[in-house]
Subunit: 230 residues, 2 copies
């Protein structure tokens, strides 16, 4: 029975890792479309989203089965609870990548901006790294790596604030850029939300490993909307 | 043993309802501050957020205990899984209300716009109603009401798109409004995300009652970022 539980646990881990790689690919395809000013990756993003959504339902279903059949306790139970939550976060990361692709459509079919993408490429790179590391931390039960992910989140917030300030100045100095700059602001927020989801995953890993809740200790978890100068 | 489980289940429900009322109050205080152009409610929003965060940890903890001690099956198990997810959604609704308050700070300390708040009041009212109804559906295991909440979500999306179009036009016709209009766009997105969380809750209720997964059937779940004209 124990052996069978471990097999299903392993399979669950693999499914979550697979969802994670699909989500990573979606972010990569979405931002590459934006950087290269092409819409040739859209279909690939949508295809992966379908797959992520299918896995999302499967993982939840498997977690329920594990709970019902094996009535796990302590660390096994915390593992399943973490899996349920990580599953939601991965699915929402996929949604954010789709949003990036959709906003990009408007952006790339209009003339490029002089300073093209501000801090968006760095934001995308950092969010992807956070996602990857948070899942590595999950499979390896690596608390230190999970803590590292949480540190990187403030860097992402900083980049988002910088991009926001730059884009606001651009809109104000040249109103013909308003719609495009607004598109980039929305994309930077999608990327920041991806980083937030990775941070949630990291928190779940720490809870899973240590059995200790470290949420709601950060001071800055809700300042996403701060308008510069306010 | 069964009786004790039901007591804890009832207590869990009450805690989630209490979180729901706190979240509702937070939205109400946040938008009232915006409508009445006052910052006198900020502290009340923050106080409630602290309480919501405390309950968030408590509910998760209780769900783990229920699972570990009673090894529930079928509908009891689905109830606890729903509680875990609803708990996350309520906590994130609280975060969104805090974001509304913070963005409002900039808005209300600058001259009012001619057409003051576009569809924001209606969006706030609808999102609050969806939150309330989704929790009513949860405690009464009311699938019909949960379905109603899901229908209302497209109305909220429509309002958000309308507000976005109006605010974009305003920015383009009068660049002195850019920063304030941007603030309202962000607030309308916070309200739409609250409606999304209420929709998640409604989906969880349907799964809890019917044991049937109805997620990922909606066509429009990821078009949040669509730029008009794209």
């Amino acid at each position: 029975m124990r052996r069978r539980f471990e097999e299903i646990e392993e399979e669950l881990k693999n499914r979550l890792l697979h969802m994670g790689s699909l989500a990573e690919e979606m972010i990569h395809l979405a931002v590459t479309g934006l950087f290269e000013r092409t819409d040739k990756f859209i279909q690939q993003v949508f295809d992966r989203e379908k797959e992520v959504n299918k896995l999302h339902i499967e993982v939840d279903d498997r977690c329920l089965k594990l709970l019902a059949l094996y009535q796990p306790a302590s660390s096994d139970l915390r593992f399943i609870m973490a899996a349920v939550k990580i599953n939601s976060d991965l699915e929402r990361i996929g949604d954010q990548a789709v949003n990036v692709t959709q906003t990009s459509q408007f952006f790339i079919h209009n003339p490029p901006l002089e300073k093209k993408l501000f801090d968006i490429p760095r934001m995308a790179q950092l969010a992807t790294q956070m996602l990857k590391e948070s899942l590595d931390a999950f499979v390896n039960k690596d608390v230190e790596l999970a803590r590292m992910v949480m540190t990187r989140d403030s860097e992402e917030d900083e980049l988002k604030r910088g991009a926001f300030n730059d884009l606001l100045k651009l809109m104000q100095s040249d109103p013909s850029t308003i719609q495009r700059a607004l598109g980039l602001i929305l994309i930077s927020r999608n990327l920041e939300r991806i980083a937030d989801h990775a941070t949630n995953i990291a928190e779940d890993v720490i809870f899973m490993v240590l059995g200790k809740d470290i949420r709601h200790h950060a001071e800055d978890e809700t300042e996403e909307n701060r308008i510069p100068g306010s």
